[in-house]
Symmetry: C2
Subunit: 405 residues, 2 copies
C-alpha cells in the first residue's frame, strides 16, 4: 500500500495548514518532513479544507436497522413498553437482523466519515445470538473501513427475561468486547442484582460495560452511584460507560458537579445521542470535570423510530444544538464527543496530529470545526488506517482521490 | 404563460396519484380533466413522487442574515441581554441588513420549496427603517417566487427604547402587514402598556399582530391572557399570533388545555421554531383544540446564532423530533404547521387540491409526507403560482422541467 499525503489541509486545533503523511496505518510525519518523504505517496489535495479525526459513532444499534427498505411506518404507542412490544412483534416479519441492510448502513456511515462504531446488539431468548453473529459478519466485511466494537445487551430485560444471562455469557465467546445492561430498576426491577450480573460477566470475561439508563430523576441518579461503586470495586476505570443517563441531566447543578467528580474519578464515561426531546447531559460541565463524553446516533431508521442519517456531523450538530451552543469553542465540545470522546470510550488511542497517532481522518469542506458541525458539508474524503476509503457522498472533486475498493 | 401539468404525483392526503393542472396561478383541474385539458401545458413528471403544498416559513428574520458570508464566529454570552448587545455592537460592521445576502437566502429557501414567508424586521432608532426598506426591496425582487409578509418589530425594546413606537408607526406606511412586540414584561417592563401600544398600532393601521414571547412560566402565561383579551376586544380573530410562547409549553397539561381553548376561541395563533433546547408547544394538543400552529426557522445564520439551512422540511423535522413524534400521522402534524398552519397565519387561503386553490406546491422524492419530513430529499421541484420556479437543489432529473427565470 502506498503512503498517503494529506496536503495543505488545516488539522482541527492547529493554527495553520499542515501536511500529514500516513504510512502503515498511522501518521508517519507532519509538515515539511511529510512533504519531503511523500515522493511515492498517493495525494489528497486538502488545500482550503479542514482535517478532522475519523468520527466515532459511540452508540448505535446496527442489528435493528431497516436501512435501505421502503418507508416503514412506525406503529408503536408512546411508552417505552409499547416500543419494546412493537419491536418484538414486528422484527421477525421484517427480517431483522439483516446483514445486507446493516452493511449498507455502515457503509453510508463510513462515507460520512465514521471510522469506528460501538453497536449494541439485542440478545434474548427469541433472537438468541443471531444479532451478535450478524454483527460479527458485518464487522468482518467492514474491516479496514470501520472498526466495529460490539456490545451484547439485554434489550428486553435480563432478570425478567430468563435465559438472557446465559446468552450474554455465550456471546462473550463470540468476539464481543462489551457487555450491556438496561434500566436496572425501570425495566429489570432489581438494580443491585442486574448490575451484579452485568459486572460479573465483565469481570469474568475481561469485557467492558455499557449500561442503557433511561431511568429518571433520583432513581437513575442512585443507579449511577451503583455503577460508580462497582467500577471502583472491580478496578474497571476507563472500561465502563452509561448511555443516555437522562437522570444526570435532570439533577440540579450542584449534584451534577458532585456526580461528575465521582464519574471522572471512577473512570465512568457517559454516552449521549441527543435524540428527540430527551434530556441531554451538560456537555461543558462534564468537560470541565474531566468526564469522558461520547456521542452516537442511537437507532437509525428502525422499529424504535424512523429518524437517523448515519452522519456523525449531523449528530454532533444535534448535540451542540440541544446544548444551546452558539460559540465556536462550545460547538467544538460536541464534535469532541463525536471524535476523541468516542475513541476513549472504545478504548482506542486518542486522535492527535502527532507521529504515531491513528491514520483515521476526514477531510471536509469547512474553514473551522464549528462550521463543519453547523453546515455538515457533503463533500468529504474519508481515510481509514492511512487509506482513502470514501470520496464523500457529494462525489469526488477535481483532483481528489476517489474511493477505491 | 402556459398552463402547468403536475403529472402522476401523489398529493399529500390523497389515497392515489392525481394529475393537477395549474392555470392563472391556481389549480384549474384535477384528475382526468386535468390531463384532458393539458394539451399545451408544460409538464412536470411527478410519477412516484409526493406533491406537497408550498412550504411556509412563518417566522424568520431575513434582515439579520449573514447568509453567503464566510463563517462568522458567534461571540455573545449566553443570556438574552448578551445577544441583544452583541447584535447592536456588530451589525453595522457586518453590513446588516444587506439586500444581496437576504436575496441569496430567500432564493435558497425558495429552492427548498418555501413559497411564502413571514419575516420579522428590526425597527429601532439606530437601524431606523433601513431593515424595513431592505425587506420591501427583497420582496419586490422575489415577486412571483416567494410571498414576503413583513413584520416591523421592536427587537431592542419598545417602551424602553424611545423613538421606536414612532418608527413602527412610520413603518405602517411602507407596506408592512404585521406589527410585532417582544417580551412585554421581560424586555419592555410594562406588559399592559406594551401590548396596548402594539394593538393600538394594529387597530389604527389595519395590521396583524405577532408578539415574540420568551417570558417563561406563569409570567408568560399571564401575558398570553392579555393578548387573548386584546384580540377579543378589538375583533382581531385570525389576525394575532404569539411566536415562541415558551410559557405555554411549560404549563401543566390542564392549564394548557384551558389556554388552548381560549386561544382557539379568540383566534390567536402560535408560532414555533423548535430551536435549540427551548420549550416546544404541545403540537397534538393544539391541533385537537383547533389552535393554528405555524412553524418557522427563526434566525438563519445571523448574529443571534450560527444555525439554519433555510429548508422548511428540515424545520418540520426539528419540530416533529422535539415533539418525539414517530408515527406518520404525528409527523404530519409538524408538516401541517409548515404548510396549512403557516398559510392561515399569513392570512392566505388554505392549501388544498381543489380547483381554485393556490398553485403553490412542491414535488419531492418521497412516498409519504412523514418520509419527506424524515428524509428531507434534496430532489425537489418548486411551483409558485402555477409556474416552476426551482428545479431543486439536487439538480434536475431526466424529463424534469428545469428552473426558468
Amino acid at each position: 500500500m502506498p503512503d498517503l499525503l494529506i496536503r495543505g489541509g488545516l488539522p482541527w486545533g492547529r493554527p495553520d495548514p499542515l501536511d500529514l503523511l500516513l504510512a502503515d496505518g498511522s501518521i508517519a510525519a507532519a509538515g515539511a518532513e511529510a512533504s519531503a518523504r511523500a515522493a511515492d505517496a498517493e495525494v489528497v489535495d486538502a488545500a482550503g479544507r479542514l482535517v478532522l479525526p475519523g468520527l466515532v459513532d459511540a452508540h448505535c444499534h446496527l442489528d435493528k436497522t431497516l436501512w435501505g427498505m421502503p418507508w416503514v411506518s412506525h406503529l408503536a404507542g408512546d411508552a417505552l413498553d409499547d416500543r419494546i412490544r412493537h419491536d418484538r412483534e414486528r422484527r421477525a416479519a421484517l427480517g431483522i437482523p439483516d446483514v445486507g441492510r446493516m452493511t449498507e448502513l455502515i457503509t453510508t456511515m463510513n462515507e460520512y466519515g465514521t471510522t469506528a462504531v460501538r453497536t449494541h446488539t439485542d440478545v434474548d431468548p427469541d433472537a438468541g445470538l443471531r444479532g451478535v453473529e450478524a454483527v460479527v459478519e458485518v464487522a468482518e466485511r467492514m474491516r479496514g473501513r470501520v472498526d466495529v466494537q460490539q456490545v451484547a445487551f439485554p434489550q428486553h430485560g435480563l432478570l425478567t427475561n430468563p435465559g438472557t444471562a446465559d446468552l450474554l455469557e455465550a456471546a462473550a465467546g463470540l468476539g464481543i468486547e462489551v457487555v450491556g445492561g438496561i434500566d436496572p430498576a425501570g425495566i429489570d426491577g432489581d438494580p443491585v442484582r442486574h448490575l451484579n450480573v452485568v459486572f460479573g460477566l465483565a469481570d469474568r470475561h475481561g469485557l467492558m460495560v455499557d449500561i442503557h439508563l433511561h431511568d429518571p430523576g433520583t432513581l437513575g441518579a442512585w443507579e449511577l452511584d451503583l455503577v460508580v461503586e462497582r467500577t471502583r470495586a472491580l478496578g474497571l476505570a476507563g472500561r465502563v460507560a452509561v448511555s443516555h443517563a437522562y437522570a444526570f441531566a435532570e439533577l440540579d447543578r450542584g449534584r451534577q458537579e458532585r456526580t461528575a467528580g465521582a464519574l471522572a474519578e471512577a473512570g465512568v464515561a457517559l454516552v449521549t445521542a441527543a435524540v428527540y426531546d430527551f434530556p441531554v447531559p451538560p456537555v461543558r460541565l462534564l468537560a470541565e470535570a474531566g468526564v469522558t463524553l461520547a456521542c452516537g446516533h442511537d437507532g437509525i431508521r428502525d422499529l424504535w423510530g424512523p429518524y437517523g442519517t448515519g452522519d456523525m456531523l449531523d449528530r454532533a450538530m444535534h448535540l451542540a444544538y440541544r446544548s444551546t451552543f452558539r460559540r465556536d469553542e462550545d460547538i467544538e465540545l460536541a464534535l469532541r464527543a463525536a471524535t476523541t470522546g468516542g475513541a476513549r470510550l472504545l478504548g482506542r488511542p486518542d486522535p492527535t496530529w502527532d507521529v504515531g497517532a491513528p491514520g483515521d481522518l476526514l477531510v471536509v469542506e469547512a474553514g473551522s470545526a464549528a462550521q463543519a458541525v453547523v453546515e455538515r458539508p457533503r463533500d468529504r474524503v474519508v481515510v481509514k488506517a492511512g487509506r482513502v476509503v470514501a470520496g464523500g457522498s457529494g462525489g469526488p472533486r477535481d483532483g481528489e482521490v476517489v474511493r477505491r475498493d
